[in-house]
Subunit: 282 residues, 2 copies
């Protein structure tokens, strides 16, 4: 049931997801299968290192194998693709996550495309993106899927609502827009060229912030009673939403940290287990 | 230059596009290459027959080869896919168009997926859709591309405008939304579950009607000065827009017929020529 103000606790949602996974991991284990996520980090970006470590630790706690591949910053696109192809061919590996962003000299799109669709647990390939757009994906991008999971966990309705998504990246703004659309929301996609952003955000029954700019979404923009989901994570543990200011207007809101982030990681684990199960069925 | 009211004449835009194609067809011919579009029609739907015939005739007038494959209504998904695979393998064929819709017992998505990406001149595969969503497609879906071509031909700005798309099909509403987004419009996608549709349409600087319901978009919904694009084509030569009523408010509007339709066909021809040229370069 909804209270007057709901802080959407991602840690609780993630814990519930992981609990459900434990049983599935045990079942796989009984069949001699250890789900395995390979993470690839290129270069030494400290926050990327943190993310990858968090993902690895989350695997470990759930009894999922994780293989961390750390490549030096000077790695070429070709070298990176060769590593990905090895992982594609490796039957022990069920999911592959290439930590975004890679150094700018690398063709990130080409590297993403190299990931086999059956192991694309973060939905970064064009094929995975389109399958998700058509509601046919095994593995939608983790952050968008986490946003939907939070709404569902708190039984916040999507159908018929006006969702305003701020941001249009291939792994966040675009896929979450299409997922909300497929769940029968009316969806408005905004970005840096949007005129009258405050007015448009002010129409959102659901507002998704995915811009990567600290405290960008102002409290005064938010419609009274809106549901606010903050997919941002900026230096200093700050989201894309001015949390305190938005809290006064929103009926429900994700904090940062402990909002979308932990559910994204739980979704990645879930997709890895899904992928492992699919290899059994195949 | 814009007049006070502009009727966006698709026939003129299409003729200009075809004129540019003639030179390219001649060049290919000098190299011994005859661009060829294969159209597949399953069953006896009279309007689908008309569309396919129009496409074939348009090819002929431009010196493009067309191969019409007409399969009986009882064709199975497997038989249809086998035909598509033959066309994929046929070096004489540069583009493949499967006329939508196919009889309901056929898995249309599976059939679309069977089309080789290099011959997917109507952008119906998931891969083609996603490449388009990322701005990387050789062949975006023809009707969405035609809508953009009309805006460009009349020098109607897209960037920063609020585009409202009514309809969310995989070959029209979704791809045109993403194309307008990639051109820096703020995009709202509406559909049958949208609440307050009139108000939302009323915010559109650009309104795209892609619902398949005759005269669905009312004149009273349209913002004064909006640009209205009607991608509908219903029995009796009627679009999805109440043309006369919308004309009083719009600054520019496509009629039906002679609006989006002829530009869609010209785009299909262009993609077929593009595909033929790509085989030369490959």
């Amino acid at each position: 049931m909804m209270e007057n103000k709901v802080v959407l606790n991602g840690t609780v949602v993630a814990d519930r997801m992981k609990e459900q996974l434990q049983e599935r991991v045990a079942k796989l284990s009984a069949q001699g299968i250890l789900p395995c996520l390979a993470t690839i980090l290129v270069g030494d970006d400290p926050s990327s290192e943190t993310y990858v470590r968090m993902k690895g630790n989350a695997c470990k706690r759930l009894g999922i194998d994780s293989r961390r591949i750390h490549l030096e910053a000077a790695t070429t696109t070709e070298e990176l693709i060769a590593v990905i192809e090895q992982l594609n061919a490796d039957e022990q590996v069920h999911g592959i996550l290439l930590q975004h962003p890679v150094p700018s000299h690398i063709d990130e799109r080409a590297a993403f495309e190299a990931i086999a669709i059956s192991k694309d647990v973060d939905g970064v390939t064009t094929l995975g993106f389109a399958q998700n757009a058509f509601g046919l994906a095994n593995f939608p991008s983790c952050t968008p899927a986490a946003i939907i999971a939070i709404l569902d966990d708190y039984e916040l309705p999507i159908e018929g609502k006006h969702a305003v998504v701020v941001g249009r990246s291939p792994i966040l703004g675009k896929p979450v827009s299409l997922m909300l659309l497929n769940r029968n929301a009316t969806v408005t996609i905004c970005h840096s060229k949007t005129e009258g952003l405050a007015n448009i955000v002010g129409q959102g029954d659901i507002v998704v912030a995915a811009v990567g700019r600290p405290k960008f979404i102002q409290g005064s923009w938010i419609k009274e009673g809106a549901v606010v989901l903050d997919a941002g994570y900026n230096p200093g543990n700050v989201g894309d939403v001015d949390y305190e200011a938005c809290l006064t207007r929103a009926s429900a809101i994700t904090p940062v940290p402990a909002g979308v982030g932990p559910v994204t990681i739980a979704t990645l684990l879930k997709h890895t287990v899904d992928a492992a199960e699919l290899t059994v069925r195949a």
